[in-house]
Assembly symmetry: D2
Homo-oligomer: 302 residues x 4
């Protein structure tokens, strides 16, 4: 313990090691990326073999080791260790423990910097697809509602004051339009997510004769990123994804607010089905929150 | 003065009228939409004539009146009145003052609700085009810089610690990529901005025989909106535009921070040209802020 | 024009000078600080005389010059120049133009860094006082309303579903409590705003024999700041002020939402007085927005 | 399953029950409030006995039951059930299971609405105290550093350009001031946190003869809230707490950025001690992040 740390420390000093580990570890949230991390490693290993950077035998050992690890994680028996920081180190260490030196060779021509970028892109690519499909269901529901209430009239409001009569179906189809634009935005974003970052390494690429197009094909990426410094240091695709999700939530919030108001005793426009209610007989209004939860919960993949 | 307002008022009561006007007026910021508002009105009037909803003579009077108003605004002699609230009412009132009853007929089959939506879309359409063109210039500059310093090497940093040597050109071209994605995002957004909202009226459309496709063609919109309730009550296209601008700013901020650090005495990687500096001999670091202002100021159209 | 700026410039180059001025100027928004700036300069000059740093005659010239400038600004005849950047330089330049060299001596032992800090603190100190007084009026109004409707019963809602009957007065007094806490927060913040920063100079203080306590007394500050580097580089007091304003707005928003819902045809709990409505016969709901504007407009000092 | 839910459902319908439970449950994050929830229940039960609302024997049973539950939670053997939604229901159900009907009587004159408010206030009261104490340590460290480097000079920067020489100690003590204001803000906030909400019930209070002052004294609250509708529906004290934490983070971020810059090869002002570094020999810069983690990790109570 140096003088300097003591000066700074005060009550901190004793627990330093544990604090440091707790602070730098990300495994408690990035463990959910295990599937993407393993799939990425499989493709990378296959390319390393194809390029002669590791032997075919080493490649087989890596594949078998990763398969075992994936199974252990899915069976809930894998021991995630915070001191190994993140999902990459946890899997790599387990691989080396299983198959020895060839496990370490998997990291050839790769860095955690491009690896986490790959995992995140694969994860968001899947989530984007799932969200678009969920929005399909939501939009279909509005079409069915519009059809069911064909011809029915309701008040149209501005500033919550009755303004002009409108068709219920017209109101429902407004949401069809909103969620349609949300789908378009996600599709547009997908073009920027769906680009292979592997090969950027730490920030300067690698001098080894890798084949990025090979890996891209294996992992179904239509393009590879063009600049390694840009690749490892920008997450604009993720920020864009989050912005678009905010707009989806804004549309869901508008819908929720309408359901809240429409199901008051004073408006009495809708009655929510029991299947979407909790058992509480005191607070029937909870129906609304649960009704909407269908989408939110499934979208979050919980 | 009712009893109720007195109860509420306290020190407020005397200035009520002025406060109300000040609070509801938007003319001090939406006056910048005058061009779009007038262009929209011209197209609308032309359609009203074509559909026989107003006479050709009325149409001519409207066009001439609007031309005069536009000229007055551009010459800085138009008298914007806060008590007329917004740009739409200011122009319409001036038109009626100039040409009498036909001026009022311009509002046939239209509401301020779809009118402001149109103005905003036309404004953002132009700004989006301008931003994309400005980003073209910025990207070209990075290509020229990359070419100029071909072969030059500089330290590549992670966490501001020297990690690996990189080419200056490689670093410059990282920005070429970033601003390229920003352009793509704006182009994608443009698809959702560039849709004609006129015809939605207040929220329920109009029973009059208008021709929306005609107006769309006049104003160069490839599509018309599909649902009037969605049209008047959603500004997601504007939120999307703003989100994309945030990412541009984030990239500019990254560039700025690099220039700030690179131009310190300790790093001494760059020296900014005098043309981008203020006269202050005390604070040479101001160069940096001004250097970047080139983009920011022009982008904001000030 | 150097080679480098040309490379960067593209379409920018020609308008450089104007862009730079437009970007660095703050006069279009900090001109509202003229009163505080002049009051601060008066006190500073008085101290410089007391400490023998300028002569009594110079002090008088400065005071007379500043008085003239203040009058010109208030009469709307002062010529604010963007090329002089900010309120400090605009006033100082005008002073030198009026009284010559003594005007420049006003800047002795002072920097724009501590000067703007002073102006901002004086401005926020006044705004805080005004807000607290306005909230007094608002709270009194709720007490009067509670008294007026003593004994009246209304539904209490949870999730906008009728839950239990409550007294109208009880509901009104909930706002009395909320805005009371908002006042407390502002008072607490005032302790951190109300500290004299002058004397910190650019960042390292000054070697001249200034008397900070003298200036503090002149300007009615109970304390002086303790550390010059902290003083010039922190605006946490302003952020705190803004946070507290956000909570006030949140409470006003809750009130507004209740008025919006209560004044619907379906709820019909309140009818807003005509004095708070615009002339529009089509959209009576506008009453609500204007009703609330009373507070917002006055609070913003427009 | 009604017709309506089918229309809405699409792929959702089958998993409804689980989604609903997952969405409404908060136990995965509010379980950390168990200590406060139990302490609050103890005081509430004691008051119920004192007021004759439950018998002394029932009171004893409740205390013993709660003691057992607390022990189980602390030993990690308590079975938290998401279907019981939150910490209140989980504990109450366990209590009824243990002691039967008297367990249910604990909910007399209380609602989850005022109960969660109490838990949150007790939790924030403790965290506020802890943060103030941690900031004491941090401030002391800066004083020790200032003393250690008495007389040492370093460059003072504006815009990261060398401006004037300053004392290292002076720079350190700037942080002493910043974190001191952060402490003041937390102390001020504590006055608004430290108020007993119990007795507000769902929103309208209770007709039962409770003694709020008794409970306040038991739980060491100097005041009780004044209005039940305000009490259950406002969390401004928590928002205020979060705002103040944001300012602490801002000050820590400023410190971090300085350490990042100062520990570059180019600046070389500081060398971080090994005790605050990870084992990575490739990225020594990680020292910085860990250095700061001391505060962040402990403050978050991980």
């Amino acid at each position: 313990m140096t003088n300097e740390t003591k000066l700074w420390g005060g009550r901190f000093t004793e627990k330093t090691a544990a604090s440091v580990e707790a602070f730098t570890a990300s495994i408690h949230y990035d463990s959910r990326l295990y599937k993407q991390d393993i799939a990425g490693s499989r493709a990378h290993a296959k390319m390393l073999v194809a390029q002669g950077l590791i032997t075919a035998e080493e490649g087989d050992q890596i594949h078998n080791g990763l398969a075992e690890i994936e199974q252990e994680i899915e069976q809930g028996v894998f021991d995630f260790k915070p001191e190994l920081e993140d999902i990459h180190m946890n899997i790599e260490k387990a691989l080396v423990d299983k198959i020895g030196p060839p496990g370490a060779r998997l990291h050839t021509a790769r860095s955690r910097n491009d690896q986490i970028n790959l995992d995140l892109r694969m994860y968001l690519r899947e989530e984007t697809g799932r969200l678009i499909a969920l929005l399909d269901d939501v939009r279909t529901s509005f079409v069915l509602l519009a059809r069911k209430y064909l011809g029915a009239v309701m008040p149209g409001y501005t500033h919550l004051q009755r303004a002009q009569p409108v068709l219920v179906s017209h109101h429902m189809l407004a949401y069809f339009e909103m969620f349609g634009r949300d789908q378009e935005r996600l599709s547009d974003c997908l073009k920027r997510i769906n680009i292979l970052p592997l090969g950027a390494a730490a920030l300067a690429g690698t001098g080894l004769p890798i084949d990025r197009e090979y890996v891209a094909k294996e992992l179904d990426f239509p393009k590879v990123t063009a600049n390694s410094m840009d690749t490892v240091a920008d997450r604009d695709f993720a920020l864009e994804f989050v912005s678009h999700c905010t707009l989806i939530q804004l549309h869901l919030s508008r819908l929720s607010e309408e359901l809240v108001i429409w199901s008051t005793d004073e408006f009495k426009f809708v009655e929510l089905a029991d299947g979407f209610c909790t058992g509480s007989s005191i607070m029937p209004q909870k129906k609304i929150r649960i009704f909407l939860s269908l989408f939110a919960v499934q979208a979050a993949g919980w």
